[in-house]
């Protein structure tokens, strides 16, 4: 099974580019929205109201500025839910990518650094992981084990480590052959010291690039889980859940699904742009 990755090592050529500026800018904005959600949201995102159900957004004839993006089928303010949803998306993306990154980095570096038996076993585990349909597994685990933010993050982390392992394995194999590693070994450094002091700093660029990519992937996956009804549960303002809840009303209130989807798309787009920019900056040959 092909688990090679195109990885080239070059001293990082630090170069500012448009991807980092635009993607990074939006990511910073989203982080600020997530942090200050309590102050930014005009209403309580959980407050239901039977008389204010399904209000249209402000640009439609019956829209008002009280609810700029209208209200959902439960009469909750859509904008406030959208703002609070930023928190969930960022928490899921960063949390799951961190868990996946930890598992993948340990396996990938171990396989690349030790080689031989370790490499064969770990490559096998990666092949097996790739063969398992991750969305199906995640859904089955959530159904049996219960849903909630923490378990969603854990499940997505445990199903999204393969790319880290594949990329870091290849990168480590190349670092291992460098002179400074041979030198460190010659002066009697332990494996642990070589890995932490010599190998990891030199593959960290690849880690960062895969990390941003996986943040985007897990945000999409988490929304898919919510959309299918087995992810983050009501009444939490998860964007995927907002789309699922608005689905029955989408012909009369298309904003219920288009706006949350747009927020999701912009977030993923920004994280991907940032990732592409970082890849061009940290690994100049990685462009595809």
């Amino acid at each position: 099974m092909a688990i090679e990755a195109a990885v080239t090592l070059r001293p990082p050529r630090l170069r500012w580019n448009a991807g980092i500026a635009i993607g990074g800018g939006i990511v910073v904005f989203l982080l600020l929205v997530a942090i200050f959600a309590d102050w930014l949201a005009p209403h309580d995102p959980y407050a239901q109201s039977l008389v204010r159900r399904l209000r249209p957004p402000v640009w439609e004839p019956r829209g008002t500025w009280t609810h700029p993006l209208g209200t959902d089928p439960f009469g909750r303010d859509y904008l406030s839910r959208l703002i609070h949803g930023t928190r969930i998306s960022i928490a899921v993306g960063a949390g799951a990518a961190a868990i996946g990154g930890l598992i993948g980095a340990v396996l990938g570096i171990l396989a690349g650094f030790k080689g031989g038996y370790f490499d064969r076993v770990i490559s096998f585990v990666i092949s097996a992981r790739l063969a398992l349909p991750s969305l199906l597994i995640a859904l089955a685990v959530l159904q049996v084990g219960g849903s909630g933010l923490a378990i969603v993050i854990a499940v997505l982390g445990f199903t999204h480590w393969d790319r880290f392992a594949v990329v870091l394995r290849t990168a480590t194999q190349q670092v291992r052959r460098q002179d400074y590693v041979t030198r460190a070994r010659a002066i009697g450094c332990s494996d642990l010291r070589i890995v932490t002091r010599e190998v990891f700093p030199n593959v960290a660029g690849h880690f960062v690039v895969v990390f941003t990519f996986e943040v985007a992937q897990t945000i999409i996956a988490a929304a898919a889980l919510s959309f299918l009804g087995l992810g983050i549960q009501a009444p939490e303002p998860s964007w995927g859940l907002m789309m699922a809840e608005g689905r029955n009303w989408m012909t009369t209130n298309p904003g219920l699904i288009t706006i949350a989807g747009l927020a999701l798309m912009i977030t993923v787009l920004a994280v991907n742009l940032l990732g592409d920019g970082l890849r061009d900056m940290l690994t100049p040959e990685g462009r595809a």
Binding site: F124, L135, M250, G261, L264
Partner: protein, 305 residues
């Protein structure tokens, strides 16, 4: 070549065995099956009765070998709910999923390859940037969202196409578009990268130097070499599509194995879930083995590497 294939085959069989253990373990470790089947209203005695009835009181290892042995004989058990044989349920719906996956992949390739070639030939121009932009946009749109947008535009506003079911080929148009759009960007980026690499190589310089027309150089020499990784990734993608169409199938109520898996998960119908996970994994391993074989046949560097 035989050695290379044998090695790949052993690897594939081992992966299948490992996957079957993982599938089994995941579902048995993450919760209490008897409680999931019984639901929240079941009393303690009822739960115990369910446990004994399904043999869930035996050791996990005994249960695994019992299950694996029956699976090897083609017996995936019966659904907890309809009592129907799981194999029949899956076999009945598999054609729909395969049709959807093949159609989406074809659509994706039909868009991805021309766009990738154009982007590579016009590298660095606005054409290239526009193609990459489409790709980046495609990767950022969750498939169920583009599916809902397609429903809104073509099903509700224009009323051109059916938005659910499997009655005629027309029902497959929107799901195919949504799923094809989802896999297109990766294939396009691979084509572009492949052509750029090929155009920079020595054999292209030779072909140009001996005066071949541009078109012949591009299509006979560059594309033929660039297409290899695209085809092998496309086969792997087909495996992902078979397992990943669960969201699209549920949005469009398309009666394939994705929709079956989703309804089985909601009802904790574990024999069905296990069978589908295993089937998708086996198909994935098989497609990978095929792609390894094709690559080995076409590229001697791989089989001797």
């Amino acid at each position: 070549m035989i050695r290379y294939l044998a090695q790949k085959l052993v690897e594939a069989i081992l992966v299948c065995a490992f996957v079957s253990i993982a599938t089994f373990a995941l579902i048995h470790w993450t919760g209490d099956l008897a409680m999931s089947i019984g639901g929240t209203e079941a009393s303690r005695e009822e739960t115990e009765r369910i446990r004994r009835f399904y043999g869930l009181d035996r050791t996990l290892i005994a249960q695994y070998f019992d299950w694996a042995g029956r699976v090897l004989r083609g017996d995936f058990g019966n659904s907890f709910f309809s009592r129907e044989a799981v194999l029949t349920m899956v076999a009945h719906r598999l054609p729909n999923t395969i049709a959807l996956a093949l159609a989406s992949l074809t659509l994706a390739l039909l868009i991805a390859i021309p766009l990738g070639v154009v982007a590579a030939v016009r590298r660095g121009t606005w054409v290239d940037r526009a193609c990459l932009g489409v790709g980046v946009l495609g990767q950022a749109m969750p498939s169920y969202w583009s599916a809902l947008l397609l429903i809104l535009v073509f099903g509700v506003e224009l009323q051109l196409l059916p938005i659910s079911g499997t009655e005629s080929w027309r029902s497959f148009v929107l799901p195919t578009a949504a799923l094809g759009w989802f896999v297109m960007p990766l294939l396009m980026r691979l084509t572009r990268a492949g052509i750029i690499e090929a155009l920079a190589s020595d054999y292209i310089r030779t072909a140009r130097a001996k005066g071949l027309p541009r078109r012949a150089v591009l299509f006979k020499h560059a594309l033929r070499n660039a297409i290899l990784p695209v085809v092998s990734i496309a086969m792997v993608q087909l495996g992902f599509l078979l397992g990943g169409s669960i969201v699209i199938e549920s949005v469009f109520a398309l009666d394939g194995i994705g929709l079956l898996a989703w309804s089985a998960i909601q009802r904790s119908d574990f024999p069905v879930i296990q069978a589908i996970v295993l089937l998708v994994a086996f198909l994935f391993v098989m497609l990978n083995f095929l792609s390894d074989t094709v690559n080995g046949l076409l590229d001697p560097r791989i089989r001797h590497g």
